[in-house]
């Protein structure tokens, strides 16, 4: 997948679709194809032109948010994350769910740009900024941080990650870890990423269904830069994953917790919210399962995600208000207490958050997101190659 500027193509998708539409005797196909976002005059996509937007009262307010499951649609009481926005009397946004960064990105790249806000994670930040519409205009636009009152309370080091080409394209909001999670009542693995590749747990392992599985494998194999492997290192890691994939029982898409709790697997690549959920899965007592969130000797992988703004949208001010609500201390406290994630708001009242979580994950210490405290997520040097190899690893599993 190339992120190069639009170059000459033998026959562009647009031309092709139009032609076939005519050939078929109907304009239907051409109309059905990719939505092209044409930015209105003066949007911030053209940085040389002064930006003007109508006041919030003149906007429709029907926000469309492309968001992770459990991040706002209320399925888990998570509409609290935008409570301030709701309390201000703005209409409830429409949430369109995505289960992972890669397929979410692909859908937008394929033309589904009818959203106002999206919530990608760091290893995809640069890809999103590089996206363009068919007319060559940028798909995304930077935020106006002056419209986000809570921005001043956000951790500047983390927000710097969302600043690309001098513009704040991402309001970094949530952060956390990836690490092995296991049932301590069933297995007692050593504290290493090798546990999810261990033959002792054959048929009891669950991997994340993502090319990001190359990272723990790389860390375990001692590869110095897993996000930027050489050809030889990639071959070594691919061979390793293909050798180990027969040990794996499931690839999880959105949550390994049910399989862990139900006894179908004993160890899984997991985020800390999975561990937090496993503890009281179905019981509400935090004693349901003796789950442990490992701190492997190679280091936990850390990640952070942020909100991005689509270009040419009608609800520019509503979008800023929504994100401002998400960045409030109330939202941060809910995120910590319910998902065990970190939040970039540094003004959180420590008396309102679960101390056990803060201590276990150093949620009050942003330096935890830096090496050697953890291994931070970053862009891939050759995502296409990683992607293809990962799909081959998966295809070889059967």
């Amino acid at each position: 997948m190339s992120q190069a500027p639009r170059g000459p193509m033998p026959f562009s998708r647009r031309d092709f679709m139009r032609t076939t539409g005519v050939m078929a005797g109907a304009g239907l196909l051409a109309a059905c194809r990719q939505v092209t976002s044409v930015p209105p005059v003066g949007t911030s996509s053209d940085t040389s032109t002064p930006v003007t937007h109508p006041p919030i009262e003149e906007e429709t307010g029907d926000l469309r948010i492309y968001e992770w499951l459990g991040y706002g649609d209320g399925s888990y009481g998570d509409d609290v994350l935008w409570a301030e926005y709701k309390d201000a009397g703005y209409p409830a946004p429409k949430f369109i769910k995505t289960f992972d960064d890669d397929s979410g990105y692909t859908k937008v790249a394929a033309g589904s740009t009818d959203f106002d806000i999206v919530h990608p994670c760091a290893y995809r930040f640069e890809d999103w900024v590089a996206l363009t519409n068919d007319d060559g205009s940028p798909t995304m636009q930077p935020w106006d941080t002056s419209l986000i009152a809570n921005f001043a309370d956000l951790n500047p080091n983390l927000e710097a990650y969302g600043n690309i080409n001098g513009e704040q394209y991402f309001i970094v909001a949530d952060w956390g870890f990836a690490s092995p999670m296991y049932r301590a009542d069933k297995i007692q693995p050593d504290d290493t990423w090798g546990a999810i590749f261990d033959e002792a747990y054959e048929g009891r392992i669950s991997w994340w269904d993502s090319l990001n599985m190359f990272i723990p494998a790389g860390l375990y194999l001692g590869i110095p830069e897993p996000y930027n492997m050489t050809d030889a290192e990639l071959e070594q890691t691919t061979d390793f994953l293909m050798e180990k994939v027969p040990l794996v029982r499931t690839f999880w898409v959105d949550d390994p917790t049910p399989d862990l709790v139900n006894g179908d697997v004993d160890i899984a690549y997991a985020w800390q919210n999975h561990w937090w959920a496993a503890l009281d899965y179905g019981s509400g007592s935090k004693k349901a399962v003796d789950a442990v969130y490992m701190n492997p000797k190679e280091g936990r992988i850390s990640w952070y995600c942020g909100f991005a703004l689509f270009n040419g949208i009608e609800n520019y001010n509503h979008a800023h208000e929504y994100v401002n609500s998400w960045m409030s201390t109330g939202s941060a406290e809910w995120l910590i207490n319910n998902y065990a994630y970190g939040h970039t708001n540094t003004a959180v009242d420590q008396d309102k958050v679960t101390k056990e979580l803060v201590e276990q994950f150093s949620l009050d210490d942003p330096s935890i997101l830096q090496e050697p405290n953890s291994y931070p997520e970053r862009p891939y040097s050759r995502r296409d190659v990683y992607n293809d190899l990962w799909l081959e690893v998966k295809a070889s599993a059967g």
């Binding site: 050939m23 196909l29 692909t106 029982r249 139900n262 006894g263 998966k394």
Partner: protein, 272 residues
């Protein structure tokens, strides 16, 4: 015909254009290339192995489904009297519920702490904490669930064929001294083969490209060719290779359709 052109022929041409780089998801200077085709056909054994596995699984599912559905169709058409349509309605009633629900329900039945394993523990056939692993997230699970899903559907063409059977032929066989088994083998079965072939086709073709059921209950072992296509398009953003795999599937299915279509025709002629 317009429908066929718009929603079958044109999309196939679009997929073909993606498969050779004439179109691409993201801007590219690569131009027209048969690289993805070459990879699939020459050395990319992983996807071809997956394709072969899917063909075998589709064959297994189709044969099992037809074998199970035939008695159902036979019973409805030739044994049950006036209540046949009520029974038919009952058989297809599961179609009134969500496909996903029907598939996911099997996870509750076959899981480590599901109905089957819990029952085995209760009666002492297995020890607690030692469930039968292959019941869920396996090739077996995918085949079981697909058979469950397809049997009621496939009973329909067999039922229709048998119901339209000329009953006087069965009476003639009986009058000539043939036993019921012999009448079935020499008269009923040959005349119903077109329905059997149609039923087999109905199952076999969609099952080769199946990806929902394997992704829900198949685990890593139950992965099929359709999963690879889906993931190349979605997670992989690799529409070129995804298109090659999809088109390859279409070509193989088209050839199989021709072969099966010819078989059905021949049987029809013989039956007449």
């Amino acid at each position: 015909m317009l429908w066929l052109i718009l929603f079958f022929i044109v999309p196939i041409f679009i997929v073909a254009a993606y498969s050779v780089g004439l179109l691409s998801l993201l801007p590219s200077d690569a131009g027209v290339s048969f690289f993805a085709w070459k990879r699939l056909l020459e050395w990319d054994a992983v996807y071809l192995q997956l394709f072969r596995k899917s063909i075998w699984m589709a064959l297994e599912v189709s044969v099992i489904v037809v074998v199970l559905a035939y008695p159902v169709g036979y019973f409805l058409a030739l044994v049950v009297g006036r209540r046949r349509y009520i029974l038919l309605l009952l058989i297809i009633a599961p179609f009134l519920t969500s496909y996903l629900l029907r598939v996911l329900a099997w996870r509750l039945i076959l899981g480590a702490e599901g109905v089957v394993n819990s029952l085995l523990v209760t009666i002492g056939a297995r020890e607690a904490g030692d469930p039968i692993q292959w019941l869920i997230y396996s090739r077996f699970t995918v085949i079981l669930v697909l058979v469950y899903v397809w049997v009621p559907f496939v009973a329909l063409p067999i039922f229709v064929t048998l119901e339209n059977l000329d009953r006087s032929l069965l009476e003639a066989g009986s009058d000539l001294g043939a036993s019921r088994v012999r009448t079935f083998l020499r008269v009923t079965l040959p005349l119903s083969l077109p329905g059997v072939a149609a039923a087999f086709t109905f199952v076999f073709i969609p099952t080769i490209g199946e990806f929902i059921t394997p992704s829900l209950v198949g685990g890593t072992k139950g992965t099929m060719y359709g999963n690879a296509i889906s993931e190349l398009f979605l997670k992989g953003s690799n529409w070129e290779t995804g298109s090659v795999l999809a088109l390859f599937l279409v070509i193989v299915v088209a050839v199989l359709m021709l072969v099966l279509g010819r078989f059905v025709q021949v049987r029809n002629v013989e039956a007449i």
